[in-house]
Symmetry: C2
Subunit: 298 residues, 2 copies
């Protein structure tokens, strides 16, 4: 059986690899690191990159925390056990250029009283402007990782991402989805824990090369004030999703996590324009038209 | 017994009075009105003011909606009844100048199956920079309205505001509080419904003159880029409160309210700076020091 210490150490290495790759990709900004300890147990390494050539604000966080599960989360999980351990890497990148997509990744491992052992995670892409070729490239990359581990993973996790990254009150998806999985165990996958863990590491390692292709393809595109303004509006939607719906954010806030690490997912700037309506036929309207569940990009 | 139609009509008139007063106060921008209908029953009049001399973005909304209460709200209210009616006026004003405070007001009446009848509401002030004189003036104005109706109202509702307008994950209050009340009935106040209703109208009518004093005192103060930047950070906290904790926002989202009317409370622009620390001895630090529960401003 693989241990939680082994998993945590491996995820930490993935954090290292990703921060190196993102600094290289940005070419200008460097990560600043904060090491922190959680009062209830455990701690983490928060790495933030700001004001880069590409990245306006981004975070690549590693944490390994443990303690007593708060009552509301116990109820939500429908479990009696309440000694939790959680470790993972979480990333959100907000780029300067509206033609470069926002991206989010998370791989995590969760234990309750040492005998409930779950893997979760995913990668989803939030382009300010959806470009079909890029969406297809991204989903193909996700499918490739999934297919190496289980024939059902991509379809299953793609559907879960559509359902999870959904801004219910706007009736729109956050972006073009990707893959999302939760509570994976040998029982519900037919894989060993080692195999599920290997899948999570491969997904983590696919993050940087996949995002690099999308960044390099779009980083030199010029943009107008209107396109910047649309980016700020889409970031407002991102804020709405993260604060109203995101389980990771809720879990962090309810377990007294480190606030600045949890809310690193929020952009440097977001705008709300009252009752914005996209011009008929505009690129903004075309993007809104595909922020829907169930679109097959491949 | 006063009827819900009478209450709704009276609140509508208060909306009219307040929009007239705010246009006069701003001196430049005019409200734009949207009349809307809710699919499940009822509708409202949303009035938005933008890009004014004083007000960057603000809303003064009236609504009177009815329908079936969704299951999660029934549970939260611990009631069996599920035919609701709700009417009220809701205001949030985000000014341009960081020396002018954000303000929020709400007066509302809520009915369940016609026999549960509750009044709720409040006014709270969110200065970007807390000025003791202004805080005292504001709380005195709130106390004056309360004292005319019940000797316990101010102290009780001031404490409730401190507890309600609290950003738990930041361990700071949203602003300097004010008054907040909920589920007022003849049983828990010793007043008649007419008297509780009269209190709510007096509170509504105190809004514009009280805010006008605070605006006129501060509207011509100049400000630096750093002060503007602090305002945008405080607006980020306002967004966090409204999306994570505010019951009115949750109620609106869960009952399929009109999204643009509910989220008019969000500012035109908000910023998040990673791990902001106020300079020791700065005005920002002094403000943070009083964003605490239990401060007596009078």
């Amino acid at each position: 059986m693989i241990t939680k210490e082994y998993i945590a150490e491996s995820y930490k290495k993935i954090q290292d690899e990703i921060t190196v790759a993102l600094e290289k990709l940005d070419g200008q900004a460097k990560f600043q690191e904060e090491q922190w300890q959680r009062e209830g147990g455990g701690g983490g390494r928060t790495r933030i990159i700001q004001n880069g050539a590409i990245i306006e604000k981004g975070g690549v966080n590693f944490s390994a925390v443990h303690g007593k599960l708060p009552e509301p989360i116990k109820k939500a999980f429908a479990v009696e056990e309440d000694e939790f351990f959680a470790t993972g890497v979480s990333i959100v990148i907000h780029p300067n250029n509206p033609h470069v997509p926002i991206i989010h990744m998370n791989i995590r491992y969760f234990e309750l009283n040492e005998h409930i052992r779950w893997f979760g995670g995913g990668i989803d892409l939030t382009p300010h402007y959806v470009v079909a070729d890029d969406a297809q490239f991204f989903h193909r990359a996700m499918k490739e990782v999934c297919d190496q581990h289980h024939p059902d993973f991509y379809n299953d996790f793609k559907t879960r991402a559509d359902n999870y990254f959904y801004i219910k009150h706007r009736q729109e998806t956050r972006g073009i989805g990707g893959v999302f999985y939760d509570k994976l165990t040998p029982e519900n996958t037919g894989l060993s824990e080692q195999q599920i863990f290997d899948f999570s590491c491969d997904l983590g390692r696919a993050f940087a090369p996949t995002y690099s292709v999308l960044v390099n393809k779009n980083r030199n595109l010029t943009f107008t004030e209107e396109q910047k303004s649309w980016q700020l509006l889409r970031r407002g939607r991102y804020v709405e999703f993260n604060l109203v719906y995101d389980s990771g954010t809720k879990f962090g806030l309810e377990t007294n996590g480190r606030i600045e690490s949890i809310l690193m997912s929020l952009p440097a700037q977001a705008n709300w324009f009252y009752d914005f309506k996209a011009e008929p036929g505009s690129a903004e309207e075309q993007t809104l038209a595909v922020l829907k569940k169930g679109i097959s990009w491949i």
